[in-house]
C-alpha cells in the first residue's frame, strides 16, 4: 500500500446501517487491487471513509508532460459535478496489451479527484478484460452513498462508464 494512505487505520470499527457487505459474486469480478481498495473502505466508519477518499485525492498522480501540453487528448466526463478529464493509453506487455489511465481534476474538487484516484490505483495497467469485468455499480461498494449526494455518486459511476467505453472501443480496434 502506498505510504500516502498508510495512516488510515483499516482495523477501525465497522458499524452503521448503510454498510454493504460484498457479495461473493461481485468480488470475483473485481481486479485484485480494486477489491483491496473496496475492502479498505468497507472496513472503516463513514467519516474515515471520507478521509480515505481524501487521501486518494491527494495521491492522484499528475498528468505526464506529453498530456499536460495536449488538453485536446483528454475527454471531459460531463456527468461529474466538477471538471474531470481523462484518457487511456495502450501499452504493450509480454502478456498482451495493458491499459494506462490518466486523469485531470482540480484540487478544489477533492471528491471527484478522490474517486479518480481510486480508479487509478484500482485499474491502471490492467487488461481490457479485467477492466470491462468491473461491475458498473462498483462505486456503491465504497459505502459513501449516504455521505455523498446522489448527484456526485452518479458522476463517479459515469467516470467508470467512460473508462469502460473507451477501453472497449480501443480493444475492438486491436482484434
Amino acid at each position: 500500500m502506498p505510504s500516502w494512505r498508510g495512516h488510515i487505520d483499516a482495523t477501525g470499527s465497522q458499524t452503521g446501517p448503510d454498510l454493504r457487505k460484498l457479495e461473493v459474486m461481485s468480488t470475483n469480478t473485481l481486479p485484485a487491487a480494486l477489491a483491496e481498495i473496496v475492502d479498505d473502505f468497507q472496513a472503516l466508519t463513514e467519516p474515515d471513509r471520507l478521509q480515505l477518499l481524501l487521501d486518494f485525492s491527494r495521491g492522484l498522480p499528475a498528468l505526464p508532460e506529453r498530456l499536460l501540453d495536449h488538453p485536446e487528448l483528454l475527454e471531459q466526463v460531463v456527468e461529474c459535478q466538477s471538471p474531470l478529464f481523462l484518457t487511456i493509453e495502450q501499452e504493450k506487455t509480454p502478456d498482451g496489451v495493458a491499459y494506462r489511465l490518466y486523469f485531470k481534476a482540480p484540487p478544489e474538487a477533492p471528491t471527484t479527484r478522490g474517486f479518480a484516484g481510486v480508479l487509478h490505483e484500482g485499474l491502471d495497467g490492467l487488461t481490457a478484460a479485467e477492466i470491462l469485468a468491473v461491475p458498473d455499480d462498483m462505486p456503491e461498494l465504497l459505502g459513501l452513498t449516504r455521505a455523498i449526494t446522489p448527484l456526485r455518486m452518479r458522476g463517479m459511476t459515469a467516470m467508470l462508464g467512460r473508462i469502460k467505453r473507451k477501453v472497449a472501443a480501443a480493444d475492438r480496434l486491436l482484434s
Partner: protein, 307 residues
C-alpha cells in the same frame, strides 16, 4: 447583534450591512483572538463534502448541507432537536455570532445561512467573497480541525413560513413576482440541470409562469463578493422589474442557488417578504398539472384548474 458590525462604504449602502463581513474584518477578528470564547464561530459550508478537509480558515468548523442540514429520510430540513445538537457540537450557542463562508461565491454558505434563519438564529452573517477570496488573498488556511467546547443551544421549532415557500404557496403567489435563478438553458427548458452537470430528475423543462430569469451568479462580482447596491438594483429593480415592497419568491433546482439570491433581495436590497422555494424545479418540473412556460418569454398568469 452580539459582535460588532463591520463599517465600510460598500456595506453601508445595503439595507442590512450587519449581515456581511469582509475578509479583512474576519482576519482582524481572528488575529484579535475572537474565536476563543464562543461569541464568534466561523462555519465553512461547501458544495464538495471534502473541500474543508483540504484546508480551511483557522478555527473554522464545517457544516455539510447534505449530511448535516437535510433530513436523511424526508425531503426536508433537520428538526429543532437535530439542529440544536448540530449547533452545540460546533460550539454555537443561541447568542453566538456565526460567520459562514464557502466555495462557489458562497452559494452553499448562503444556503446554510438560510437554514440557520429557518431556526431564527439571530446573528448569522456571510463572509463576502467566501472561500475563494480568502484563498486568493493568500490568507492563512489550515487542515487542523478545531474541537470547540460545546455550545448551549435550545431546541427551537423551525419557523418556515416567513422565508420558505412550498409548492401550494407558489400556486397562490401568481400575480406577484417570481425570480428564476437557474441558467438560461434551464429557464427555457432546453435542459433540466446546470450546464456541465448531469441530467437530474425533472420530467419537464421550462420555468414557472411569469418568473423573471436572473441567474444567481449575476449578483456576484468576479471575486465572488456581492455586487454593490446600485448594481443589484439595476439587476432586480431594473431588469427583473421588482418594485419596493414586493412580495417575492425565488427558486432554482433544489433551493441552493436561490438562497444566494434570497440573501441579496432580503438583506442587501431590503425586501421584507422574500421566500425561497426549495422544492424548486426538481419538484415543479415533476409535479402533475402545474403550469409551465417553455422558451425565453416569462409567460402570463395562468388560469389554474379547479379555480
Amino acid at each position: 447583534m452580539s459582535y460588532p458590525v463591520e463599517q465600510n462604504e460598500k456595506f453601508a449602502a445595503y439595507a442590512h450591512p450587519e449581515r456581511l463581513v469582509s475578509t479583512e474584518w474576519l482576519a482582524a477578528a481572528l488575529e484579535g483572538g475572537a474565536l476563543g470564547d464562543g461569541k464568534l464561530v466561523v462555519v465553512e459550508s461547501d458544495e464538495d463534502v471534502l473541500l474543508y478537509e483540504t484546508g480551511h480558515i483557522p478555527g473554522a468548523v464545517k457544516i455539510d448541507w447534505h449530511t448535516d442540514l437535510n433530513d436523511e429520510v424526508t425531503r426536508d430540513y433537520v428538526d429543532g432537536e437535530a439542529f440544536a445538537a448540530l449547533a452545540a457540537a460546533k460550539g454555537i450557542s443561541r447568542d453566538t455570532t456565526v460567520v459562514i463562508y464557502g466555495d462557489k461565491s458562497n452559494w452553499w454558505a448562503a444556503y446554510a445561512l438560510w437554514v440557520f434563519t429557518l431556526f431564527g438564529h439571530e446573528d448569522v452573517r456571510l463572509l463576502d467573497g467566501g472561500r475563494d477570496k480568502w484563498i486568493a488573498e493568500g490568507r492563512e488556511v489550515t487542515t487542523d480541525v478545531p474541537q470547540p467546547a460545546a455550545g448551549e443551544y435550545p431546541v427551537i421549532e423551525r419557523n418556515d413560513a416567513p422565508i420558505r415557500a412550498f409548492k401550494d404557496d407558489v400556486l397562490a403567489h401568481f400575480g406577484k413576482p417570481l425570480i428564476d435563478v437557474r441558467s438560461p438553458e434551464e429557464y427555457t427548458g432546453q435542459r433540466t440541470h446546470m450546464p456541465a452537470y448531469p441530467e437530474e430528475g425533472a420530467l419537464r423543462g421550462g420555468h414557472i409562469p411569469t418568473a423573471a430569469s436572473i441567474p444567481w451568479a449575476r449578483a456576484a462580482a468576479e471575486d465572488g463578493t456581492y455586487r454593490n447596491r446600485t448594481e443589484l438594483e439595476d439587476l432586480y429593480l431594473g431588469e427583473a422589474g421588482l418594485t419596493e415592497g414586493d412580495d417575492v419568491v425565488a427558486y432554482c433546482r433544489i433551493g441552493e442557488r436561490s438562497s444566494h439570491t434570497w440573501f441579496a433581495l432580503k438583506y442587501l436590497l431590503g425586501f421584507e417578504t422574500v421566500r425561497n422555494y426549495d422544492g424548486s424545479w426538481t419538484e415543479w418540473g415533476n409535479a402533475v398539472r402545474v403550469p409551465i412556460v417553455k422558451g425565453a418569454e416569462r409567460g402570463s398568469v395562468p388560469a389554474l384548474a379547479g379555480k
